[in-house]
Amino acid sequence: MCMKADIVVIGGGIVGVLIAHELARRGEDVLIVEKRYLGSGSTFRCGTGIRQQFTDEANVRMMKRAVELRKKYHEAYGFPFKQSGYLFLWYTEEEVEYIKKAVKLQNSLGVPTRLISPDEAKEIVPLLDVSEVIAATRNPTDAKASPFYALASFAKAAREMGARIMEYTEVIGIKRKGSSIDKVITTRGEISTGIVVNATNARAKLINAMAGVPIEIPIEPYKHQSVITQPIKGGTINPMVISLRYHHAYLTQTAHGGVIGGVGVEEGPTYDLTPTYEFLRAVSEAFTKIIPALRNLRILRIRAGFYAKTPDSNPAIGRIKEIDEFYIAAGFSGHGFMMAPSVAEAVADIITKGSTSLPIDRYDPYRFERGELRSKALQMGRNSFY
């Protein structure tokens, strides 16, 4: 069987689906190839949070745009999306000094983060133990969304606009004719195409190698896990609560009422996604410190997804100049779900118009080769920023 598509997007996670959605919206002929089912990589295992509280300009702007776009599509497609804010808890003067600068930056870019007192934090989430907290930062416009409904809505809309999606189809090779892309070879046949977008995140290196990308883009897969508890009364934990002190924990409540979240215990590089006992212990320890009442809740399950990490925890987004035409949008380091809408816009811009007004220079895939690492993106992972 030989198929044809102007553009093949490899990877059916949130980033791949949104890129295809945006391209289809602009009238392009696009086909998504997904190894398993849509969202099966990391999207369906993500922590559901959408944050603009970053510590550098590009990430703040990208996330702000992502929130705007998601809000727009939430209104159009009806998937759940709630701007219930992020609440960071801070425990030392040093942290507070550092974060004050970040708040200033965020405010200057139109993100209304505020430094608040522990008492105000407790008003927002009454179950919090703030006995050691000295300050908190809150941005009420940060958000959370169900990855299931969001992805399904975008995929449905993309299909309606003509995008094709092949699930349970693995890419096993990419054929080139000189510097041009010729075919994408899959377990279910070959696809003739001129443009490939590598949106495989954790497996980006494998796809780069198949295409013969001549530069080193160091994206490594790390196992990150999350937990879900029994459901409790809705509205008990509205914002995404972040405590870097306790294992870099993040937690909130899903639309179904369960408490969801994770800690920065990470393993890797690895493609293994087996949930671990160590995580079960660590997440319980951290969560019950942040909210002691969580001691009483039953854990329903834990599951693992990837943080596809780069050395500076920022993704690689852009065109690979040596190949005609190959684009990469991968290495999201745990921020793919939140950033996806603006990434899709930027990638569609550079494919269809050759440039974008979004600040993706920061994510230049060539920066690793040049040794120009960025400041680390503020990440809930083992490598903290302070």
Binding site: L38, G39, S40, P231, I232, H256, G257, E285, R295, L300
Partner: protein
């Protein structure tokens, strides 16, 4: 209605302000059932729920919320109120008392006939632990199975009852099986693990099938044989395997009517009327659902087994020695749903022998083969979707209606993994044990997809819900 001599002392309790008599030590839900009270909780979706079909059964006791009415023993003076699924206690009351580490050669998870058989085979040769989340005996005990009652329960190695295993974790040459016993966390390490985690009783989809007064076959068996309390006075038995309980009903002199397939139940506080598909209406106060038994695949898949389908059930794929890998073996109805408890027991002995052999001891498991009888073979079954009200029929105890599951399928989502996430089926308290088969059926019915082509979700730790305070 009480149907025999009660253990424990007669005590007074209060339920929603009303004074009642019950027996000390029996679970709250049983004591209330004996007083004719079936409605105990409100689900997340606002539905009236009882304690014996699907979903949890939280009540409030002396001001403490979310007490499990199926487990918490009654004591004198208890003041009980109805609970809500989304209740929780704001006071952090769950604390771990200790962490212990124990080393064995073999750990057996599950103390039913298969686990007992395996333990008897192995424990005399190498140090063995038998972990059971409730009491030894499993379904064989609550069915008062004659064969089971004839075997002695000694030579089992170290027995840990009321101990809940969290999962199987591979640690080089050892396998770690952490478990929760009361407020204690025990880390069991062993060279081999036998999962003898048994089967789950099949549920059925019909209108108002979440109503108080509906019983899973196991809950009805427990009420009758362990606590001598009848599920009701006018019992309807339904499903494809009435034989799992009809003998017990007769033995205890409980009249019942067998209705192969129920369309709808109605009632105010619980079941009052039952409708079948032929237009008959029956007065009833209890419906016992007995629709097959299915291997509980969650423990096996959590340990890494792949799932296959045949003969109406999903089962873990194993090699000729019932292994899923070099460390983990599956014994008894966790692998195939045996008809007789005797078969599970001898299958347990057989797997026990295989383990000994693999550990370098002389053993001949095949000698038990002749005692291992048939297992259930059904067809996949179907859900009569064209004859049911989709808003009132529940696929899953977490308020997932037939409508919610059919929607994504009709929208063109034919991947079980996606249907699961869009409908939220198989994501709650039972982690798919009682609802996943219904989704497999529906997907097959609507799309013709072979269950072997479906992407079946793996079990995730913890294998059974445990409280965060014990692990933290």
């Amino acid at each position: 209605m009480r149907i025999g001599e009660q253990n424990g002392e007669e005590v007074s309790i209060t339920f929603e302000g009303k004074k009642l008599t019950a027996y000390a030590g029996e679970p709250i839900a049983i004591g209330l059932l004996a007083n004719g009270i079936r409605r105990l909780s409100i689900s997340m979706g606002g539905r009236k729920r009882g304690a014996f079909y699907v979903g949890p059964a939280p009540v409030e006791v002396n001001g403490r919320k979310r007490v499990d009415s199926r487990k918490e023993p009654i004591s004198e003076g208890m003041n009980i109120r109805r609970g809500r699924y989304d209740d929780y206690n704001k006071e952090p009351e769950t604390y771990r008392t200790s962490i212990e580490r124990r080393y064995y050669e073999v750990i057996i998870v599950g103390g039913g006939p298969a686990g007992i058989g395996a333990a008897q085979e192995i424990s005399g040769v190498v140090p063995t632990a038998l972990i059971e989340k409730e009491e030894l005996g499993g379904r064989a005990k609550i069915r008062e199975d004659e064969f089971f009652e004839s075997i002695s329960l000694n030579r089992l190695g170290d027995v840990y009852e009321r101990t809940t295993a969290l999962g199987v974790f591979y640690k080089g040459e050892y396998v770690l099986v952490p478990a929760v016993q009361g407020r204690k966390l025990i880390e069991f390490y062993a060279k081999r693990v036998i999962l003898a985690t048994g089967s789950v009783a099949g549920t059925m989809v019909f209108e108002n099938n979440d109503m108080p007064g509906i019983f899973r076959v196991d809950s009805a068996l427990k009420a009758i044989t362990l606590y001598k309390v009848a599920p009701g006075e006018r019992i309807i038995l339904t499903g494809r395997t009435p034989e799992l309980i009809d003998g017990i009903l007769r033995k205890y002199g409980l009249d019942y009517l067998y209705v192969p397939r129920v369309k709808r139940v109605e009632g105010e506080e619980g079941v009052e009327r039952v409708y079948d598909f032929e237009g008959n209406v029956y007065e009833a106060d209890a419906v016992i659902v007995s629709d097959g038994k299915y291997p509980d695949i969650n423990p096996s898949t959590q340990a890494g087994a792949s799932v296959r389908y045949s003969d109406g059930f999903l089962y873990p794929e194993t090699d000729e020695k019932c292994r899923i890998n070099e460390f983990v073996y599956i014994a008894g109805s966790a692998r195939r749903p045996f008809k007789e408890h005797r078969s599970s027991y001898y299958h347990g002995r057989m797997v026990g022998s295989f383990v000994l052999e693999d550990l370098g001891y002389e053993a001949d498991g095949r000698k038990y083969e002749e005692y291992v009888g048939e297992y259930y073979r059904y067809d996949l079954g179907n859900i009569p979707i064209e004859k049911l009200n989709h808003d009132e029929s529940f696929v899953c105890g977490c308020d997932v209606t037939l409508k919610k599951v059919l929607e994504p399928i009709r929208l063109g989502y034919h991947e079980l993994q996606i249907i699961k996430r869009l409908s939220h089926v198989a994501m709650g308290f039972c982690q798919g044990r009682y609802c996943l088969m219904h989704v497999v059926r529906l997907l097959h019915q609507l799309t013709g997809k072979d269950p072997n082509e479906m992407d079946i979700p793996s079990g995730r730790p913890p294998l059974w819900n445990v409280k965060m305070g014990i692990l933290g």
